[in-house]
Structure formats: C-alpha cells, structure tokens
C-alpha cells in the first residue's frame, strides 16, 4: 500500500542522500574497504531495507551515517546529506545535534545498548533532556508517554526498573521508545529483531510499522532476513562485499530479481510455505577483504560468470523502472538468465 503512495509522490523529497560512500578501516594487515562506493537515497516516510550477509558492509554503512565509525582507524569519503545538509565527517559536537534529534538508531542486542547500572527512567530522561528543552518533570512525562506508545504496560513502574529486569522484547521496546522520544526523521534499525523470538519479533515489527504510520518516520532497516524485508520494506538494497549489487522496490526484488546473487539468496532461503526437498545453495563463501576478486566481487560464486566479469567491475545500472543492478549480464548483450527467475 505504501508502495503505491511512494510511486505517486512526484516531488521526491529525500531525507537522506548517500553518495559514493567509502568507509575504509586501517589495520595492521593493510586497508580494509568495508564499504566501497555506496549510493542511495531515502524518501520521507519510506522504509528502505539493506540486505546482505555477514561482511557485506550493511552495518558499517549505517554506522557511517550515524557518525559512529571510530576514528582515526576508520576513514570516510563521499557524501552523506541529511535534508540537503552535508553530515559526513562532522565534528563530534555537531554530530551530537543530529543523532537522536534527527537520526536515531536501534541495535540488534538492546542489552549492550542500555546501561546496566542506571534505571530505564534515568536513561530515557537523559536522552530527552539532552535533545529537547524540557524541564526534568516534563522530560519524565515525555518518557512515560513514549513507553506507553511502544506498548509497555505499567510504564511508570518500568521507569524505576533496571535493564536486566526486562525481557529481550521489552528491552527492544525501551530502545525504540528512546530512539523515538525526540521525533527523529530517520530511524536506523540494525537487525532490530534478530536476537528475538519469532512471536516477539512479530510484536516489534508491528510496533515499528505503527510508529512509522503515526510519525511518518523514514526507516532504514538493516537485516539479513528476507522474510522481514518482504514484510516491512518499500524498497530494498542488496549489498555484497561492500557494494550495492541490486536496488529495487520490494515486489520487483522478490518477483523479478536481476542480479545472480539476489536470485541465489532468494532461492536458498527455506520457506515456511513450501516443502521443496532440496535447497538451492550458492557455492563457496563471501571472499575476505584480503582476497577480493579483481572484477565483479561475486564472480567466484557466480554460475553465469563470463570473461569480462573476471576483469572489470560492473556498474550499477538501471534494468527497469526504479530497478538497478550491477551485473555484466545486463550491460553486455548476454544470454538471458530469466528462466531462472521462477
């Protein structure tokens, strides 16, 4: 439904534009390009998914946007614009103005993001006071209101409790309440439900959907779970080895994937709805950054690889309306690989 709305929206107002983002970590073994040239944009009120496996660079992308890459080991280049304003390489003080107020983030394991020695109330009020000009009392009211909003029963009592007294699902609700407490325009959720059981995951995803509707927040959802993507996202970016390999709206991605990696990923996902006996599997492993292939990064695992794929890296090009893919099969006149789409 949201999809149609996004399509009709003529004046594309982007809240976030990432252009040629490169994040390189300096290590003893040499430079590691965790993200190498990623560009995408996020519209207001849209949920954009970033999917990929371990080491694809999806989390580093989100941390780069938040300005949470440790320096000087990590170096950023390119451009990250929030509502038109350049925010890459801002000073810590300037970034603090944006974090929480404008862009908030929730993480996979809420226990590591909450301070175990302070009460929930304490931590919530601190965040509110830091970003909004409210009195202590008003901040407390705001915190309780937010806890209620995310479906926490007995909000007043929870304010006095410590993180360890809450269950995993409750902690993630607290994190969401905290992230949403200053009405950010963008919520970055990095694997927000990966550590949770499925019935709790369903609760949290439901909550995120409702919050997005109520506050018109844009969500950048980072996940490895294609099921979560299908349920939550309007558009999807697929990352592999630090690069975007495909970008499209969610229906196209599942119904008509273009990149061999995306196809393999979808085919190798076991489904609740089918009993097909043998699963497809992508051969091999994600290459380590030290032994990255020269041409297309996916080439050692690709069943359609041609000579050109070993030599040069393909660019991300349009293969349909709002549908981009970086594969030589699209660029060169190559044998069709469509028969595999089913």
């Amino acid at each position: 439904m949201d999809l149609d709305k996004a399509g009709e929206n003529v004046e594309e107002d982007y809240v976030l534009e990432v252009d040629q983002l490169k994040t390189i970590f300096r290590t003893e073994d040499g430079d590691i390009p965790a993200v190498s040239g990623v560009s995408f944009s996020l519209k207001a009120g849209e949920t954009l998914g970033i999917v990929g496996e371990s080491g694809s660079g999806k989390s580093v992308t989100s941390l780069s946007i938040m300005g949470l890459i440790p320096k000087p080991q990590g170096r950023l280049s390119g451009s990250i614009r929030y509502k038109g304003k350049e925010i890459i390489n801002l000073s810590e003080g300037e970034m603090r103005e944006i974090r929480g107020n404008e862009i908030s983030m929730i993480f996979q394991e809420p226990m590591t993001s909450l301070n175990p020695v302070f009460t929930i109330g304490n931590q919530m009020v601190e965040a509110v006071l830091l970003h909004m000009e409210l009195s202590k009392k008003e901040a407390e009211q705001r915190a309780i209101e937010m806890l209620r909003q995310v479906g926490i029963p007995r909000a007043e009592e929870i304010m006095k409790e410590y993180p360890h007294q809450l269950s995993g699902g409750m902690r993630q609700r607290v994190m969401i309440a905290m992230a949403m407490s200053c009405n950010p325009s963008i919520l970055i959720a990095d694997e927000p439900t990966t550590a949770l059981d499925v019935t709790i995951q369903a609760q949290i995803l439901d909550l995120m959907r409702n919050l997005k509707k109520d506050f018109n927040t844009s969500i950048l959802l980072i996940t490895h779970d294609l099921g979560v993507v299908a349920e939550m996202c309007d558009r999807v970016i697929v990352m592999y080895a630090g690069k975007i390999v495909e970008e499209s709206d969610v229906r196209t991605l599942f119904k008509n994937p273009n990149h061999p990696y995306t196809k393999g990923l979808i085919k190798s996902t076991p489904r609740l709805t089918s009993e097909k006996q043998r699963l497809y599997s992508i051969p091999g492993n994600v290459p380590s950054f030290k032994e990255m292939p020269k041409g297309c990064k996916f080439v050692p695992r690709c069943e359609y690889a041609k000579d050109i794929c070993y030599k040069n890296e393909p660019e991300l090009v349009y293969v349909g309306e709002d549908h981009k893919s970086s594969c030589w099969l699209n660029i060169e006149q190559a044998p069709s690989i469509e028969e595999d789409a089913s």
Binding site: T199, L272, I282
Partner: protein, 322 residues
C-alpha cells in the same frame, strides 16, 4: 521408518534455585517438565520452540550431557539413564551431537586432523594409519579439502567450521545425531549448503536426526515430524505437512503466523501473542500457555492437558481438542 530407535519417556530436568541465608533450595526451574516422544529409525524429528522452552535441554539430556532429573531415555531397547559413566561413554559412539556455534565447540589449539581423530582414539577405532585415512575420508565426505587437514579452526569460515563439527560427529559412525541449532549462526547462502549436506549424509549413512531449531522455515524443509515445545512441555507433535498445514494448538498457530515469509504478496491472518513467555521457575497452573491463549477457558487455568493422539499420529496437549 516405523521402528522407534529412541523413546523418551516423561523426561524431566529441574534446576534447583538456591536462596535465603541458609542457601536452601527454594524452588526449581522446570526446564523440561515431563516430555515424552519417540524417534523413528532414519527420520528427522525436529523440536521447535522459543528461547527457554527446553528444546536444547531435552536434546542434551538424551545424550546425558545434562543429567535428567527423572524419566527414561530408551535407545535401541536400553535405558540410557540406568547406565554408569563408563557404559554411557561407550554408548555415545551411537549418539552424537552438533552444536550451534562451531567455533565454541572446536578446540582452537587443535588442528582439524586432531579434532577429527580424537573421537576415534577415545573409542579405540583403528590404528594410526587407519585413523589418518578415516580423517581424510571424513573431510571429503563433508566437502572439505584434504589439504586443509593441518589447519586450525580459526582458519575456516563459519560454514566450514560447521562442516568440521559434522565430520567430528560422523567420525564414530553414529546412529543418531542431535543437531542443536546447527545452522542458526550461518548466513542464508551457507545455511542451505549445510542443510543439503545433512540431508545427503542422512541418506548415505541412514542417520536419524533430532533437529533442534527455533527457525520454522528451516524445520519445514528438513524435518519428517515436528514437536512444538512451550515452557518445558511438548504441546503438539505431528507429521511435518500436517503440522504446517493444520496446526491445532493455539501456540503452534501463533508461532507459525509470526514467521515472516519472503514474499511481499503473501497474505495471512497474523496472530500476535501478547506478553512474554512466563518464567519457567513459576509457570502458570493448568495449561502453561493459558496466560497468552486467545481461546482460554476455565478448565485451562486448572487442569494440565495431556498430550493425546487426535488421529494420524497428530498429538496435541490442549483442552480444545480431546
């Protein structure tokens, strides 16, 4: 297919809670609370459920890696609980386990060769040359290269490490393998490789699996029968197709409806359970699920429902079905 290789009868595992000034037992965490099921020769029985439902404790109790508090574990007609340590150690040749995190279960200071050779030495299988041959053969069976024999676990990727874990379990030619979340730590593209490998090995060696997982999509793919656990009890047990197409227990229904499906056009009624799983140290009286059940009746708060066969080997513990 119909012959039961393993029968678990009224298995219980209670962990005492100590408290007070005198450090007395003030209660029990009922991790597994009277679970009974059979596993047939050559099948894959999956145990599914959320954190704390007792699925892993059940799996480990079968190998007596955790000592059960009560109950019988009858493997090929012999009650494993009655064996002493030495007898049990010998019996473990037939029962092996694969863990979730292969990194935590492989000794980082041993080479692959040593890791795979150790079970053979423990069980006195073959001489030095035979063992070496066997290790190479095992590596090839699980799809690893024999050139990698001198490497250490950290030199392998997650998927490869899980292959080593599988090779180690296979080394003593077991009859039954308990696989405790074997693919949960792996990426999707690697997960399918390991699942396919497990299926191939089952066919090749006639293995029986107990597959413990929280991932219902993976279970639908690999299992023959599925048991659903909630707070230490088995609430439903049925053939895979029957369980997924006709789930009867309200918990199973909610669980299945909560799994995200990778298809944006897939529509269904989603049952969102309110609240969290109650603590296993103080489970609700009667049916343990009644606090979150949308069909709760009076009887549910008082009487514990038995696991009964409602036809076709479909077992369910619910007052709605009796």
């Amino acid at each position: 297919m119909t012959e039961a290789i393993l029968k678990v009868e009224k298995l219980k595992k209670y962990y005492p809670i100590y408290g007070g000034v005198l450090h007395k037992t003030i209660g029990y965490v009922k991790a597994v609370d009277g679970v009974s099921f059979e596993v047939n020769q050559g099948e894959t029985l999956a145990l599914v459920g959320e954190s704390g439902c007792g699925k892993s404790t059940t799996g480990r109790s079968i190998l007596r890696l955790i000592e059960p508090t009560e109950g019988r574990i009858i493997f090929e007609g012999e009650d494993l609980v009655s064996l002493n340590d030495e007898q049990m150690r010998k019996r473990r040749r037939d029962l092996q386990i694969i863990f979730q995190d292969p990194f935590a279960s492989l000794n980082p200071r041993h080479t692959v060769q040593r890791i795979l050779e150790e079970p053979l030495i423990v069980h006195g299988i073959g001489d030095k040359n035979e063992r070496k041959r066997k290790v190479v053969e095992l590596l090839e069976t699980v799809g690893l290269n024999k050139e990698q024999i001198k490497r250490y676990p950290h030199q392998f990727s997650g998927g490869q490490r899980q292959r080593i874990g599988i090779a180690r379990a296979l080394s003593v030619n077991p009859k039954l393998i308990v696989a405790d979340e074997p693919v949960s730590a792996l990426d999707v593209s690697i997960q399918s490789q390991v699942l396919n490998l497990m299926e191939d090995l089952q066919e090749k060696f006639g293995l029986t699996y107990i597959f413990i997982s929280h991932d219902l999509s993976v279970v639908r793919h690999i299992a023959s029968r599925v048991g659903v656990m909630y707070l230490g009890s088995l609430v439903e047990l049925a053939d895979k197709t029957e369980l997924y197409d006709q789930p009867l227990h309200p918990y199973t229904q909610a669980l299945l409806s909560a799994v995200p499906v990778p298809d944006p056009d897939f529509k269904r009624e989603r049952i969102i359970l309110s609240g969290d799983v109650p603590s296993p140290s103080n489970p609700p009286a009667g049916c343990k699920f009644h606090t979150r059940c949308r069909y709760k009746m009076d009887v549910c708060t008082k009487e514990v429902p038995d696991l009964v066969d409602v036809g076709n080997g479909h077992y369910i513990a619910c007052h709605l079905h009796r």
